[in-house]
Assembly symmetry: C2
Homo-oligomer: 400 residues x 2
């Protein structure tokens, strides 16, 4: 017996060059589709140990409490905030895009007394202004977005970590879009808590949130007077399952963990530094091509994420029409702007597995056609030639 | 370059006959491993619509707010409780196993004034005692576990729903283990909120939590004076993404939704009633075999879940030794007891795809060997013969 529901699933072969999810390597998809074992099976328990080791290498940390929370990146944000603040605790959030704004919302729901400082979208914070706010508000926790997915801005955080600690505060960072695309030095920068997602530069499907908590953060959790308001995201309970107790908490998403394990293995086989260099090279090639078409970036030079290129839509070009056309004619997905940047910006992701020369060539070429058809003054072939020059000039071009 | 991390993932071919996860059909694994599209891709949006329709059929409801929360069954529990209670609201929880106890914990963390009534593990509640507690405590919300995964007990809830409504309370049920294995009549029983998991009788890997909220529950959510404490699980925000607004909330776990879509299609192709009959038949065959080996059930007859058979470990038999042997020699996983039943009970799951004659035959035969080797007075072949009699006497045997 068949019903309309039984039509086979047959997703189009999208080239995912938006803000995530990114394309997933066949090895990861293959791992994802392997038959599950139980969540307390010795084989799964061994896989958890292996994953913790791999996550520590990717986060560049030795934090014991490093694992994958069973939800997407936003669950990671909530896990970090809900475990580190108790009702009445003060939290300072630095907001320069959607995800800083989300952190304010999450912190308020956790009962924190939230103060915020703001920067226009696309800009980053100067350590001195964060310092002033910390001194004024005396927060227990400072939250800042390392890689703002809504603006493509890269926020340096090492100096801010130092300032937070000098003033008795903890620092939590959002590394959803940065992890495995640009350096995230959890121990090197002395970050107290960090969360990420799987569907960006790790090139694993969305569904898990790698997190890491440092010694100060663990002290703060131990010193809590109240239970963490989320049972599902209570790191102490989760840690007893991932740790040597193996105490059942919830049924782990077995297959998503298979996939993340494989994605982490691929990252470590390539090597983090080689991976960062690859992201940078392809972003430079993309930038050269976009420049040749007269397209500017939203963030200032020096604060741009190579994996997420947030650019201004040229005057007179219809955002939605171009994005629909890219999707329907080339199977290419790029992202639109969010919030303040809605209708004004595109977000072109070159993340993880998607950070390849063929992605750059395809998106530049398709965009050129769309822009020329929209009447923009774009010289034929200029984008492609400019990006080719970058590859030609790079010693890493052949491995990119 | 390779590292130890690159050893290929190669999970053993487990026969998952525990309390979940259950084995997953190849069609579902294949869907899971398909390349992702974006979370706002028209194809994914259409898939969400299709899934909502399928989930309504499986829950037997017309509730618009019926969807899959991006976390495991426990996230579903938290979503239901956190959206329906505000700090200071009264909630009554009926506890006769681990998951009722978990609901008390979750409710307390949500700021509810929680009262509880208890029954020994393996027993079920009589509507009259729930009524007395409702009249005494006047809760806004009553929570009860329909299928208690820790004891294998099936709790009738239709009468309790009527009583709750007569007394101005909402009823939320835990259908993690029941959905698609025994009837869950959300509209027929007039249940206000329900949550489930994917890894039991839906035979999809763990990672999503199907939920449904009825009209009274939606009214209660609209009438809230405070924000839902969890941003990630705020049903109003999630509903705007699943609903016609398509407002971005979090990046949906694309591939897990592919898998659930396929799992739901399989359920609907078989037909719910046929699926329930299949679960019942295989459970009867298992029960006959277990009885022939002198093994008793924890719950009383009439309150046993066909998909999760919670049985007493025979005197003198070492729980862990048998379970380790089943796993290492036959690749068979069964569950041990939790909490009050630790070391005293086994939980044998025949869930979804795993509810098949070959599962029954394998687990009975392997158990017979283990019990005989442990010195239990088990007659060779008796279990197999007794189970075969059940299949021979069943008109449905050939399709089971």
């Amino acid at each position: 017996m068949t019903t309309p529901a039984s039509k086979p699933l047959d997703p189009s072969p999208r080239v995912l060059l938006g803000p995530g999810p990114s394309n997933v390597p066949p090895r990861v998809l293959s791992a994802l589709g392997m038959p599950p074992v139980g969540h307390l099976d010795p084989e799964f328990v061994a896989l958890m140990d292996e994953m913790q080791g791999m996550l520590r290498r990717v986060f560049r940390t030795e934090n014991p409490m490093t694992l994958a929370v069973s939800g997407t990146g936003s669950a990671g944000m909530e896990a970090v905030v809900a475990n580190l603040v108790e009702p009445g605790d003060r939290m300072l959030v630095c907001v320069n895009g959607v995800f800083g704004g989300r952190m304010v919302d999450v912190a308020g729901r956790c009962g924190a007394e939230v103060s915020r400082i703001d920067r226009p979208w696309g800009e980053v914070f100067d350590p001195s202004e964060v310092e002033a706010a910390i001194k004024a508000h005396r927060p227990k926790l400072v939250g800042i977005v390392h890689a703002e997915t809504s603006t493509g801005a890269l926020q340096p955080v090492d100096e801010i970590a130092r300032i937070a600690h000098e003033n008795g505060a903890l620092l939590a960072i959002d590394a959803v879009t940065s992890l495995a695309g640009v350096p995230v030095e959890v121990d090197g920068w002395d970050v107290d808590a960090v969360y990420s997602g799987t569907q960006k530069c790790l090139s694993c499907p969305p569904g898990l949130a790698p997190v890491s908590f440092g010694p100060r953060a663990m002290e703060a959790i131990k010193a809590r007077k109240t239970k963490v308001q989320s049972w599902y995201l209570d790191m102490t309970l989760i840690g007893r399952y991932w740790g040597s107790d193996r105490l059942y908490h919830h049924t782990a998403p077995i297959n998503m963990n298979y996939a993340l394990r494989e994605a982490l293995a691929i990252v470590l086989e390539e090597g983090l530094d080689a991976r960062f260099a690859r992201h940078l090279l392809n972003a430079q090639a993309l930038a050269a091509g976009l420049k040749a078409m007269g397209i500017d970036y939203v963030p200032a030079e020096g604060h741009r994420l190579p994996q997420l290129n947030c650019v201004t839509i040229p005057e007179g070009v219809d955002d939605l029409a171009v994005r629909k056309r890219l999707l329907s004619e080339w199977n290419v997905e790029i992202g639109g702007g969010l919030g303040d940047l809605k209708g004004k910006a595109w977000r072109i992701g070159l993340m993880g597995y998607g950070s390849r020369r063929e992605s750059v060539t395809l998106v530049l070429s398709a965009l050129e056609t769309c822009l020329r058809d929209a009447g923009a003054p774009v010289e034929p072939g200029a984008a492609l030639a400019s990006s080719a020059e970058v590859y030609a000039g790079s010693p890493a071009a052949s491995t990119a």
